[in-house]
Amino acid sequence: MKTTKNRTSRVALALVAGLLCGATLAAPAEAQRGRRAAAQQPEEGDSRRPTVTIAQLDEVTPKLESANTDEVREALDLLVAMDDRRVVPPIAALLRSGQQDAITDRALNALKVLAAPQSIEVLVEFTTHRREGARRRAYQALAAIEDRRVPGLLERGLRDSDRTVRGAAALALGEVGGEANLDVLFLAFERGVVEAAIAIGKIGKEDSLPRYAEFLGREPLGVMLSGYHEYLRRDDIDLEKKAAIVERLGEVSGTMVRRFLQEYLTTLPEGRIRNREIREHRELVETTIRRIPVEGGGVTMGQEGAAQ
């Protein structure tokens, strides 16, 4: 019996470890949830697929208090594999009891995977942890939770003194934020949080484009293009507005813009396009690209860098 249990634990551990390690900064909550679900689905034909259930909670939880860090890690992974909000309190207790960095970080990642609103309280506590790695993970975990409180909490991360924390919060806001968070994102962008450009590009409405365009020439072109990239890939932005972006970038010109537009062109339909608007938009992009000189003229890469 003991052997079976250990084997079950080890396999589950292997599964969830991969899951935790694969968690990325800006992955949308939906995508993360999708990955988690996939991770927990037994592979077809794999008769050894472990089944860790919430019924084993009382059995796993005491291991969190072990002096053996490997055992604690294993317990954490098993709790994640249970995929039940009832595992949040023991993980929260583990965090609050003060752990070594690796355990703390793993527990925060576990809460991120679990994405349970019950973990908001403890995650908020860890947004003020003195170690920036812990704070960053706490914000990432918060971003994974579907809760109306989350965007407001993420805004606090933009006020953090650590650049990586601010960046994480900004990217997270781009995933879960909304129009209400746009002002603070623009403020953060104004203050040099470059990740805010992506967030603005993701959540900004059409009327935010002129405001965003004001940063052209003030912020590095690469940063600006990251925001425009998000605007252009969205379906809820009119082609007319996208055309304005392309024309504005055409004015800026330069190798970087040319390459950017060329990549954008690849996302547009090719060949015979029935939709006139799309066809005209593609033509606009092509025309703009042609107008940008290949060598010299416009803004060169070196000059773009200097603009920073």
Partner: protein, 843 residues
């Protein structure tokens, strides 16, 4: 004839005189080392010649307030041509430039009547005040012109070298006709001379930093000499109000000057001694005053002595001292209370204290009068010159017509003025800005605390000023609410709000024991934005100002970080939190600490710190117990010493007898037994040595029949005598069996009855009185040592009797002890051994 030529002639003449065997022993006319100094009689003619003090008056020939200035040459710049150094005379009243001429003055010009005296490289030069035309010039060779003074047509000037040290120390004092420069007399000495002053027909010359030679102006003969014995003389100043001298402090020249001491003279302590750079009240008279731009002279105290001074005092005109530090001006009253302060646009090259305030001449050619009462702008003139130095003769200038009012004066308070200086971005002047901070912090307005916090928080504030602010805030007892309020601020990247200056605030809160700050401190303890370098201090604040209510947040902090890598190397903050739990957390807190310490994941520095708390407590407890034990032991020792001191030096016979009385019954039994065996027995005598602790030894019995000895020895072994100070003493106890023959009974009333009754009465009668009998060593018939096993120990060696008092007693003691007395000894002497001393070892 230049100075060098004259000096050569002088040397030649002197050489000739010596070569001719005319080595005179007569004292030189001045600066002789043989001249007596501080001779009151010598001072009398000088003092008598001094005119009565008057107020400050103009002395120049123009009769208007005049400034003769040197200008600073400017290089050509865009839109501006190069300028050269000039000398110019300014009429301050009219704002008119009287004349100006290219002139590279090396020293600040002086206005002396109708002459302006200054120097160029290698020469002293006199110019006409009215026209600026050169009147005369005297070459100086290697000497440096120091300064001049004038009375009537005679002008005296000094050039010197060697003030900064070195072997070459020379001084030249010349009296010349002011207009022609023709020599009247001169002195050359191997020593350093300072700026001379003339008043009342006498020349006052500071000399070698310790003396003032007072010479007759007419012939240059030294009339008197002052020498300070406990100070330095750095300058002499002759004014209409009198003659003053000193260095940091100020002396008035009067009859008391002959004392040569601060205490004996009319002396005023250095004003504003605490001001930065220890400003002087006069320029150092031994150094040339620069005529080019220089920091020298930019830091000065200006004042004007009061004319109507009481004898023995040096009051200050208008009760004002003005401290000028480049372009800051501070005005103090005579008690050194700050009255006002001002910041000027440019550095002050020269100032003069007037009844109406302070006249300042700035580098930009701006002359202004800052009002006596509040420092407001009372008058100003712009001469549009880039000044390097200015010599003034302004008397008590009282300009008519107000200058343009400075709008900045509106609503200006002392607080705002000081805050302006403290916050001035001119980092050349940090010492004065720190001084302003210090003065600001002494004011009562609570808002000043906030001002200082704001200034501290500015990034441009230099560290020296921050340190001054920190010191000032710690000393402030008002405005602590602002310190607490400041804790409400937290770092915010988006708002651009920095963390409050916790390194400044927390020490001040601790110094003032502001308990109300605990909440704010806790919030900063838990705020990750609190700078690491301040964190331990913040938690220290929580611990020191908090009580048991701070234990939960401290516990949270300790728990959260005890295993974190942040504190792997330096766990000071966590250690302070643990200390707080240890102090305020009671038994529960200690258990928590023990648990934390025992956890394997707890960082080693944290474990060490927590263990240290318990160890220290144990050590403290042990130390306290040790201290208490030592205190007890000391008290016991003291009591023992007191008890020992209260003991008698030795026991009296009565005290010895009292001990035996307590054993009367037993003694009677033994003696009755002996009487039965020896009916003729007249007396039983016991001789022994009593040790200082009350024990006894070397008991001898007479008679010493074995039966009696055997009977008495148990009794004797029980005897315990009172303690006494002497190391040991001999004693005896005699039982007279026949009555009347007992010498010890002496003159006592005869008591009828058995011997023990009589013994008791005798003991009572003798009381504490010691009866002095013959010295025991004069008794030839000593008791024999007891026989047999029951006998007391023999002396280990013969004891030699010693003459004399207690002080002569040998270490063996006993000498001078109670001797076996009287004839009774012989009466019972059956056991005695004739003429042999009893102390000899028995056979």
């Amino acid at each position: 004839m230049n100075a060098a030529t004259r000096f050569g002639s002088f040397a030649l003449l002197l050489g000739l005189a010596l070569a001719g065997g005319c080595a005179s022993t007569a004292p030189r006319a001045a600066f002789s080392y043989q001249m007596a100094d501080n001779v009151a009689g010598d001072l009398q003619p000088v003092l008598a010649a001094q005119p009565a003090p008057t107020g400050d008056t103009l002395t120049n020939a123009l009769g208007v307030p005049v400034a003769v200035v040197t200008t600073h040459p400017l290089e050509a710049a865009e839109g501006q041509e190069a300028t050269q150094a000039e000398l110019a005379a300014l009429n301050l009243e009219s704002g008119e430039v009287l004349w100006r001429k290219p002139f590279e003055a090396m020293t600040r010009p002086q206005v002396l009547g109708d002459v302006v005296v200054t120097s160029v490289r290698g020469a002293v030069v006199a110019l006409d005040l009215r026209s600026g035309d050169e009147l005369w010039r005297e070459e100086l060779d290697e000497l440096a012109y120091v300064g001049a003074s004038r009375e009537g047509n005679t002008l005296v000037w000094v050039a010197s070298v060697g003030v900064a040290g070195g072997a070459n120390r020379q001084g030249l004092l010349m009296a010349v006709n002011a207009r022609s420069g023709s020599e009247i007399w001169e002195h050359r000495i191997q020593g350093v001379l300072g700026h001379p002053e003339v008043r009342g027909g006498y020349v006052f010359v500071p000399w070698d930093r310790q003396n003032i030679a007072i010479l007759n102006l007419t012939d240059g003969v030294e009339t008197a000499r002052l020498r300070t014995t406990d100070d330095v003389i750095g300058w002499v100043r002759a004014e209409p109000q009198g003659v003053f001298y000193g260095y940091r402090g100020i002396y008035r020249f009067d009859e008391r000057s002959a004392s040569g001491t601060k205490q004996g003279s009319t002396y005023r302590l250095a004003p504003l001694a605490e001001a930065p750079r220890e400003p002087l009240v006069q320029d150092d008279g031994y150094y040339p005053t620069p005529g080019t731009r220089s920091a020298r002279g930019r830091i000065r105290v200006y004042y004007e002595p009061e004319a109507s001074a009481e004898p023995g005092a040096i009051p200050v005109e208008g009760d004002r001292f003005y401290f000028v530090y480049f372009r800051y001006v501070f005005a103090f009253d005579g008690d050194e209370n700050l009255i006002w302060a001002r910041t000027l646009p440019r550095d002050v090259v020269r100032a003069h204290a007037l009844t109406g305030g302070l006249l300042t001449i700035a580098e930009d050619g701006n002359a202004r009068l800052l009002g006596h009462d509040a420092g407001t702008l009372r008058w100003e003139k712009d001469f549009d010159l880039e000044l390097a130095s200015a010599g003034l003769d302004v008397g008590d200038f009282a300009p008519t017509g107000a200058g343009s009012a400075d709008p900045a004066d509106e609503g200006r308070t002392l607080r705002t003025s000081l805050a302006e200086i403290a916050g001035d971005p001119d980092n050349r002047l940090v010492p004065a800005r720190a001084f302003a901070v210090e003065l600001l912090a002494q004011m009562e307005e609570p808002e000043i605390t906030r001002d200082l916090l704001d200034l501290y928080a500015q990034r441009s504030t230099p560290s020296a000023l921050r340190e001054a602010i920190g010191n000032a805030l710690r000393a402030r007892t008002v405005g602590t609410d602002f310190l607490v309020t400041a804790l409400e601020q937290h770092y915010d990247f988006l708002e651009g709000t920095p963390a409050p200056p916790l390194g400044l605030i927390v020490p001040a809160l601790l110094e003032q024991r502001v308990d109300g700050a605990v909440e704010g401190l806790v919030s900063h303890m838990l705020d990750h934005e609190t700078p690491r370098e301040d964190l331990a201090l913040v938690i220290r604040g929580v611990v020191e100002l908090g009580d048991e209510t701070v234990v939960p947040p401290l516990t949270n902090f300790l728990t959260l970080y005890h295993a974190d890598s942040l504190f792997a190397e330096n766990a000071d903050a966590v250690a302070v939190a643990a200390e707080g739990i240890f102090r305020h957390g009671g038994e529960e807190g200690r258990q928590l600490l023990q648990t934390t310490m025992a956890q394997p994941r707890t960082r080693e520095p944290v474990q060490v710190a927590v263990q240290g708390l318990f160890d220290r407590e144990q050590a403290d407890a042990a130390a306290q117990a040790r201290a208490e034990a030592e205190a007890e032991a000391a008290a016991a020792a003291e009591a023992a010493r007191a008890e020992a001191a209260a003991r008698p030096l030795r026991l009296s016979q009565a005290q010895v007898n009292e001990v035996f009385v307590a054993h009367t019954e037993h003694l009677r039994t033994c003696i009755e037994g002996e009487l039965e065996r020896n009916p003729q027995l007249g007396q039983v005598r016991l001789a022994f040595i009593i040790n200082q602790d009350g024990s006894h030894q070397e008991m001898r019995f007479a008679p010493n029949s074995p039966e009696l000895v055997a009977c008495l020895e148990p009794v004797m072994s029980e005897l315990e005598f009172p303690k006494f100070r002497q190391r040991r003493q001999r004693a005896s106890f005699t039982v007279s069996l026949r009555g009347g023959g007992d010498e010890q009974a002496g003159d006592e009333e005869v008591v009828m009855g058995p011997w023990w009754e009589r013994a008791k009465v005798r003991a009572e009668a003798e009381g504490g009185e010691r009866r002095i009998g013959r010295p025991w060593w004069q008794v030839r018939h000593a008791a024999a040592p007891p026989q047999g096993d029951g006998g007391t120990a023999q002396p280990t060696q013969p004891e030699q009797p010693a003459q004399g008092s207690e002080g002569d007693q040998s270490p063996e003691g006993g000498e001078g002890g109670q001797a076996p007395e009287g004839d009774g000894w012989n009466e019972g002497g059956e056991g005695g051994n004739g003429e042999e001393p009893w102390w000899l070892p028995g056979q």
